[in-house]
């Protein structure tokens, strides 16, 4: 009887191993296909793809991020109270500071201001905030000393002051990659068997980027003869890097943005749904994204279901308003969106730190 049980266990292990391999291969195939298709479109029609992707996905991906962060928010902050207070006050103040600059410029109160220094000061506050967050997160961990974050933050601030505009441009290019880090942490929790395959997929990223840069480095400049196209090339850093092909810069930026949208809109929701089918509640149907009760903050007896539902509904309303505004005046809406979107860039930092 014991031998029969052992044989069944071996067979179960074998079946499970086979299933893991198959699902892992499917995951790799999907990631590779998405990356190659994104790179091809970004190389072929960078301006058009940029316009379409921002129109379609900018709002929804923010909504999915909001929902993801709500699922990660604890019902009671407990020992993380100071961490979350620092995080939220930083997000609020830095966003206010960032969004007020264009408003002050439009009002005409910034005559004679040195914009490079103002940008440098804002970047300094951002890096200090990040350094403090990393240090505070390290204090919550046993056997970990993350006080290196303070000298590293000071070192980065020093680099920032050498050329604040380039530092801000670096944030534009690095922010999309943070989504890949979120995906890595999420996979470790929900599908650890896919993590090695995912890491192998990440090796493809520098190859694709290198190929794009090599192919586009001597391409003809993009036709940035209208205001919208000019804005897109400026956002990608064409003015700061005049020696580089604007076509290459826009393509690389669009490619990274598509990856960012893909992670938040496809990868994370699909992996969460597939993980819920494998867990202890596997017999239940995966929860709908609209089901507020699937968020711990709302499900808990002492939670805040109304607050979570209101946040999601307001987020959905903002997405619809954004689509409507894009249809009315794409250029202005794009400018406003990329200014306000700094809030979601900032919000990613504390939630990623909590997952590390």
């Amino acid at each position: 009887m014991e031998r029969t049980a052992e044989l069944e266990l071996v067979a179960w292990h074998s079946r499970r191993q086979q299933h893991v391999q198959t699902s892992s291969r499917l995951f790799v195939a999907a990631v590779l296909a998405c990356a190659v298709v994104s790179a091809s479109f970004a190389t072929w029609l960078p301006l058009q793809v940029s316009i379409v992707t921002v129109f379609l996905f900018a709002g929804p991906h923010n909504w999915f991020e909001l929902r993801y962060f709500l699922t990660r928010l604890p019902v009671r902050f407990g020992k993380s109270r100071n961490f979350f207070l620092t995080a939220f006050s930083g997000i609020f103040l830095l966003t206010i500071g960032y969004t007020s600059l264009p408003l002050l410029y439009n009002v005409g109160m910034t005559a004679g201001w040195d914009w490079a220094n103002i940008l440098g000061a804002w970047n300094t506050l951002l890096l200090m905030w990040l350094g403090v967050l990393v240090w505070m997160r390290g204090k919550q961990k046993l056997r970990r000393d993350w006080s290196w974050a303070i000298p590293v933050a000071f070192g980065l601030i020093s680099l920032n002051w050498l050329s604040p505009q380039f530092f801000s441009l670096a944030i534009v290019y690095l922010h999309p990659l943070v989504a890949l880090w979120f995906l890595d942490r999420h996979l470790r929790r929900t599908r650890p068997d896919w993590v090695p395959a995912y890491h192998r997929c990440l090796y493809l990223l520098p190859l694709l980027l290198g190929g794009m840069i090599w192919f586009l480095s001597q391409k003809t400049a993009l036709a940035d003869d209208n205001g919208l196209f000019w804005r897109i090339t400026q956002h990608a850093g064409a003015e700061l890097l005049p020696g580089l092909s604007p076509h290459m810069l826009v393509s690389v930026h669009v490619f990274l943005e598509i990856l960012h949208y893909g992670v938040w809109l496809l990868a994370l929701p699909l992996i969460t749904a597939s993980a819920s089918r494998r867990g202890p509640l596997a017999h239940n149907r995966p929860a709908s994204i609209w089901n507020v009760k699937s968020i711990p903050l709302a499900r808990h007896p002492r939670g805040f279901p109304k607050l979570a539902a209101t946040a999601l509904l307001l987020g959905a309303a903002v997405v619809v308003i954004l689509w409507f505004s894009f249809s009315m005046d794409y250029s202005t809406t794009r400018d406003i969106y990329f200014t306000l979107a700094i809030a979601h860039v900032l919000a990613e930092a504390p939630f990623l730190l909590k997952m590390i």
């Binding site: 006080s147 000071f154 601030i157 920032n160 002051w161 050329s163 001597q218 005049p242």
Partner: protein, 196 residues
């Protein structure tokens, strides 16, 4: 005797005077007037596009670049390259230096507090020392100099003959002499052509 002495004194006086006023040295050749140095007003990008269908050479400037050019020439200020900008702003350099000092100080405190605890800390310390050594060596050897802009123009002649586009950085300068527009392209790296 008296006359001889007077003549000798007179000759001596003349010799002394000519030595003092350097009267035996020929007048220097008049120097050719040096041309007014060109004033760099803008650092931007240039794209040279061979067009088999075009009838005349055209110089296209985007509205944004023209606006920048106008602002730069009106203000009388010179737009510097990235390296010049980095080195030129003393305020930024002071602030950067201050934060670098704080980074090194806090890093030193962190290393001292955690020294000998783990192998990773020793590795970080070794990396920091190696970075500092390499940086110092690079500064001494002026290894931080930017790569020459001429590198991007190295394939120009080949690209022109094959009707391909060439793109690279350019400094726009205002010169006192001459008419029209002159394009000076570096050819010192032309020997290093590649197949890209």
């Amino acid at each position: 005797m008296k006359t001889t002495a007077t003549l000798a004194a007179l000759v001596l006086l003349i010799f002394c005077t000519t030595t003092l006023v350097q009267a035996d040295i020929a007048r220097p050749e008049p120097k050719p007037t040096e041309p007014t140095p060109a004033k760099q007003v803008l650092n931007t990008g240039l794209e040279i596009v061979p067009d088999s269908k075009a009838w005349n050479a055209r110089l296209q400037i985007s509205e944004a670049t023209l606006k920048e050019l106008r602002e730069a020439t009106n203000a009388g200020a010179t737009t510097q390259s990235f390296g010049q900008r980095m080195a030129g702003s003393s305020t930024n350099t002071i602030v950067a230096g201050l934060f670098l000092f704080m980074a090194i100080s806090f890093g030193g405190v962190w290393l001292a507090r955690s020294s000998g605890k783990t192998k990773s800390h020793k590795a970080v310390a070794a990396i920091l020392v190696a970075c500092a050594t390499v940086s110092t060596a690079a500064l001494i050897a002026q290894g931080n100099a930017a790569p020459p802009a001429s590198y991007l123009w190295r394939n120009l002649s080949k690209n022109l003959s094959t009707s391909k586009t060439t793109r690279g950085p350019i400094d726009i300068e205002i010169v006192a002499e001459g008419n029209g527009v002159k394009l000076i392209v570096p050819t010192r790296d032309a020997g290093r052509t590649t197949d890209d």
